[in-house]
Symmetry: D2
Subunit: 222 residues, 4 copies
């Protein structure tokens, strides 16, 4: 099992929490790197780089997790193993006409804060997470879930993907929505919690891991 | 605003937390009961009645919230106001052939525990939450999200629904997945936290309210 | 290749038109009956039995194609080969509250004609196409596409299906919409034209085969 | 009704075939330009300009219909009326890694023919159909249906769109798949047949209009 090596490698401190679970063994038994996609969500300067508008909100968790370095290493290893690497950025027009005139919730914040404007430095990939030529860029992401407003399902179907491995921003927002959707679409889902970041340690660790974990059993803890 | 009366009525202790938020006023300004659907998720004996296999897991939160009585009253009031009442049960065949042979996560628990079998008492609606003749039953629910495996989007589209009001089981599982999806499909979403239940107070209150709330701002607290 | 035997068997006069196409060989090379679902659409009395309201509209094409007998035989053979058999009926409430108050197109006709009412003889499966205990019933179908308002995608994902084989009513309406959606979701799709029926020979043969065929190359002709 | 004026204006020879149909009056009665989106599909050089690889296949129907001029005028008028203008291009990487290694049907042709490569002249909008600053570009389109692999549903939801008006390439492929999906998602759908083109007059007129029309009643003929 090549992916088991990946899981136990030093390249990323994969957090493993449910590996002893009777169901999780089924997952590991059937993983095939050529049918596995690593989907990295919103590793853009707005979130991941000093100067990004949302960086101050996540930098504490990022630092504690060493998440950016973990993510970059994971991409490198997974690429070598033959996994498909997919990058799912979010972008908007300068006037945010993609979003409702009366938005609420996080989309209101994105619009109000003028984040992720197409063609700007902020919307570009963070320098350590630039896509390689062989990688696939997921297009269309305008909302939370990596599937809802994108061609991700098309890409996974065309590439015969069975296992989806997730990292990115925010742990309990876009990453979690993508994890939930991928889970019930029938994919095996692995969320690499040390390759994700949220706006507080409470969101990142206590809650996400302890509670979501008990529902989905698809998170790897250390 | 008829719905504002509903919100302030005694019939259900609507928990209102973000009513002062500048975005939430947009929601309330535009609510029209005839374009509002109350979607009640999995009020079936398996969860909601003594004797159900999952009742022991949720009864503590149910009792503390008085959630079943709140939900029944909310349905009654919303029905009188002209909202569409939709019930979204989950059902499986006795051999659970709808679910993977190697399931994991909560679907593995549902299958392993032989829950929600079609035609049994456990899969039937709890007695205080039986659908009325004018109500609509959402069909197909096999997974977590109320949209992913059902005709809910079809029903909302055909009935020109703009606002989705949610209650049911489990707060942080099916209700939350439905809330997340409805939010980014462009619906106004109101999650009635005193009409939902989870398997622990931690999941029900501290986490859901404090954290999800900050992302979606569509939960009403008291 | 067991499915190739199925294709060449006498049990159903599989119409094969593009078998010489260079791309179609890829399909046949990779078919595995255990990862194949036969999805039979709306084989209900309303369409398929004398006395059904829509039977007069399709009986001519049904007779010419011998489609009901072909479909029943195909189900039997595919079941023996280990394919998953899925039945996708359409049902509505007696007051058709699932459909818009101002419908148009075929949904207006279904509502106006009071077709497929839940619990009636008309909505029941035609007697030669009753589901077997091991078959799966797709739930939720309220519109045209077999995916849009149902749990079909969930069922295919959970059952690790790669190839979808289609039959049913109407060739150029629900069957075609399902074929189009399945195609771009990444499934291999085989539409058994002698197991489908439309309301005229023109729709059934000339148009569907000659034109759609050139786009999708996934129809088998004789 | 401003949109009725649009319909009867000279700016585009709207083909009206079902205007006398009892259901169609419902559509016209409720059209509001601010809740209407004109979705123009694949008006890219590959299809629409001399030098595009697919231009030879469609130029005959384009010329007979005067479709490019009609489409450009329709966009102009609809923009002035306050409709949202959405452009839905299709793009692929130079190595077509978005598409299966063993494709079939029209996606095999697109890949085999190396069409619509991102960043090339061929993938750019035809010069008379360049998006205006206020227009919205639908992202992600990799398959046939304008919804399946894009953020179109997100955009329509956020912009509170009720009516979708369609034009583009190919009449019986992407346009028709989008029409079918939009119809059952509950939108009012108007397909402007003189703003679409197919690869033969047979596909464009006889078949599409006569047969599909009888199913959806949402096509305007002259």
């Amino acid at each position: 099992m090549q992916f088991q090596k990946l899981l136990s490698s030093d390249s990323a401190r994969f957090l493993i929490g449910n590996s002893k679970n009777r169901h999780f063994s089924h997952v590991l038994d059937t993983i095939n790197p050529h049918r596995t996609a690593l989907v990295m969500i919103e590793f853009q300067n707005e979130f991941a780089a000093d100067g990004g508008k949302l960086y101050p909100a996540v930098k504490s968790v990022m630092a504690k997790n060493n998440m950016l370095a973990n993510a970059a290493k994971t991409v490198k290893v997974a690429r070598e193993k033959g996994c498909k690497i997919m990058h799912a950025p979010i972008v908007f027009s300068p006037d945010f006409k993609e979003i409702s005139k009366t938005p609420y919730g996080i989309l209101a914040n994105v619009k109000g804060g003028e984040c992720f404007i197409r063609g700007t430095w902020a919307a570009d990939f963070e320098k350590s997470m630039k896509p390689d030529n062989g990688d696939i860029i997921v297009l269309g992401k305008s909302g939370l879930c990596g599937f809802e407003s994108t061609n991700l399902q098309f890409l996974l179907g065309q590439n015969q993907i069975e296992t989806v491995v997730l990292g990115g921003f925010l742990t309990n927002c876009c990453v979690e929505s993508t994890m939930r959707a991928a889970y019930e679409k029938g994919f095996k889902v692995i969320t690499l919690t040390d390759c994700t970041a949220a706006t507080s340690e409470a969101e990142q660790v206590c809650i996400f891991v302890r509670l979501i974990c008990s529902l989905f059993l698809n998170i790897l803890l250390d």
